[in-house]
């Protein structure tokens, strides 16, 4: 009788394991969480952007200058990253392929739309990526870094699909995203800036002749420097606005 119970118990365990191993799992919950986190991040950025806009409207800077780059132009530049591959830092057995990377700007939020796939041990999965442009002023260079907030594979798998499960676990690691951002692993666009301009009106002599004399008029020289000090980068659906304030220095 005891043997019968034991056999029944083992059978039940085995059946449960088999059933569990065939239950499909997916990343839908992670994808939902990714979406919610993206909204929260965007709300934070918008709150800061609104405060800045209110200040600009109330006390406009008469020395403010502004440059603009359109989304189509930025997309053309970003297309240089299309088709690139990288071994994910902290998950070297996963290869991420960036199929396309384009702007997905929303008011105040420099979002990026990345179509990517992850490959591990011959298994490939589409990856949902939340990313944005992170502007960095680097002396006379404006660097638009690709900053990743999260990577979530869009797949479903069963327990016995060890490779897929491993891929999901690898991408879900926070340290992978951190390492990508720390190492600038997804690339960047470097745009040189002309933020300082010197102009000079040299002292000029203009000879002339008139009744009774030859003479020359001497005009005083004047020179100065205008320097643009970048103050803010604003993304809007139509493109990227770069604000700066001008500092002048006459000599």
């Amino acid at each position: 009788m005891k043997k019968l119970y034991l056999i029944a118990f083992l059978f039940a365990v085995l059946a449960g394991a088999v059933i569990w191993s065939f239950i499909k799992k997916d990343t839908e919950a992670e994808l939902q969480a990714q979406k919610q986190n993206e909204i929260k991040a965007e709300l934070l950025v918008l709150a800061d952007f609104k405060a800045w806009l209110v200040t600009q409207t109330a006390t406009p800077d008469p020395f403010a200058t502004r440059g603009f780059l359109s989304r189509p132009l930025l997309d053309s530049i970003l297309s240089g990253l299309d088709g690139t591959k990288l071994k994910l830092p902290e998950a070297q057995d996963v290869t991420l392929t960036i199929n396309t990377i384009r702007t997905d700007f929303r008011p105040g939020f420099p979002g990026l739309s990345i179509v990517a796939t992850a490959e591990r041990s011959g298994v490939t999965a589409d990856v949902s990526t939340v990313a944005r442009i992170e502007p960095v002023f680097d002396g006379s260079m404006l660097r638009l870094r690709v900053h990743v907030d999260s990577l979530v594979p869009k797949i479903s798998w069963r327990f016995i699909d060890f490779t897929l499960g491993g891929l999901v676990r690898d991408l879900a690691q926070t340290k992978v995203v951190e390492a990508i951002n720390n190492e600038d692993a997804l690339g960047a666009v470097a745009i040189p800036l002309s933020h300082s301009q010197t102009f000079a009106l040299p002292s000029t002599q203009v000879p002339f002749s008139t009744t009774g004399l030859n003479a020359a008029v001497t005009l005083p020289g004047f020179s100065g420097t205008i320097t643009a000090q970048l103050t803010r980068i604003v993304a809007m659906p139509e493109g990227l606005y770069v604000y700066a304030t001008l500092k002048t220095g006459a000599q």
């Binding site: 603009f68 666009v189 008139t210 020359a216 139509e238």
Partner: protein, 282 residues
């Protein structure tokens, strides 16, 4: 009542959801930035005129020496004045090569928007002679001979010497700054030229002992045409690099074409279209 509660519940849920909050926040910022957005170009730049006004204010406050145009003679060019019919060939000429020196002090620099692509800088100028060395030679007045016959000069070579002169005038100098869009790599070009006056008239007054004050009209041509050209570059340079994940980089260049230029009392704004090209093999 049941229907009303359901509506409240639905609307309350909608108002609180992050998605709804996000839409509301987006609408708020769009409203604040509306009117300044760009939709019909790839590259745009606006530059305030405040720095120009500030520079003009600096000039207005600058020491006189820094806003003075000087005029110096370098030699004679014939005579200032000569008279044969009445004064027997009496004349006045520049007494020495550097015998005439004048200065025009500039003041009241001001900016005026002329049209959609040019501004005019108006400047008041007060011109005064600082030195005038005039060599004069006086041969006397022709007189009629006995019985009113003839018309003769006094005997002898006459007398002469050096004498000072004086003169002053004032005028408004107008300098045109014509703006255009640079066709090669963007930015604004400016060409500065004096547009008026075409000439400056001043009467050189010489006090002759024998014949009283002699006023010699002088006209100085003001140099016209472009005095200075320059360029204000785009904030963004039109070439750069894309840094790839493998550490290499691709070079790109933006071929641009001017689209529009606008000038308002507060700023100049330009719009360009652009096409990105990657350098092969970069």
């Amino acid at each position: 009542m049941l229907v009303a509660s359901s509506v409240l519940a639905v609307s309350g849920q909608a108002d609180d959801s992050p998605s709804t909050q996000l839409e509301a926040a987006r609408a708020e910022v769009i409203k604040l930035i509306e009117g300044t957005r760009i939709s019909d170009g790839d590259i745009a730049m606006s530059i305030p005129l405040a720095p120009v006004n500030a520079a003009l204010a600096t000039l207005n406050a600058a020491p006189e020496a820094q806003r003075t145009i000087s005029l110096n003679s370098s030699g004679a060019n014939g005579l200032f004045w000569k008279d044969d019919p009445t004064w027997c060939g009496s004349f006045a000429e520049l007494g020495s090569p550097d015998g005439l020196r004048a200065a025009a002090v500039l003041s009241s620099f001001g900016l005026e928007i002329r049209d959609a692509s040019s501004v005019v800088i108006n400047v008041s100028a007060a011109l005064s002679l600082q030195r005038a060395d005039v060599h004069w030679h006086f041969r006397g007045r022709r007189v009629s001979g006995p019985f009113g016959i003839g018309n003769v000069c006094p005997p002898g070579g006459g007398v002469g010497g050096h004498i000072g002169g004086r003169g002053e005038t004032s005028f408004t100098l107008r300098t045109l700054a014509r703006l255009s869009q640079d066709a090669s790599d963007g930015g604004f070009r400016y060409d500065l030229s004096l547009i008026s006056p075409a000439s400056i008239d001043m009467t050189l007054k010489i006090g002759f002992e024998h014949i009283g004050d002699l006023g010699i009209p002088q006209s100085f041509n003001v140099p016209q045409g472009v005095l200075l050209s320059g360029k204000i570059p785009l904030l963004f340079q039109t070439s750069g690099t894309v840094q790839l994940p493998d550490g290499t980089s691709k070079k790109y260049a933006v071929a641009i074409a001017a689209k529009s230029l606008g000038l308002t009392p507060v700023a100049v704004a330009g719009l360009w279209t652009g096409k990105v090209e990657f350098t092969p093999g970069s």
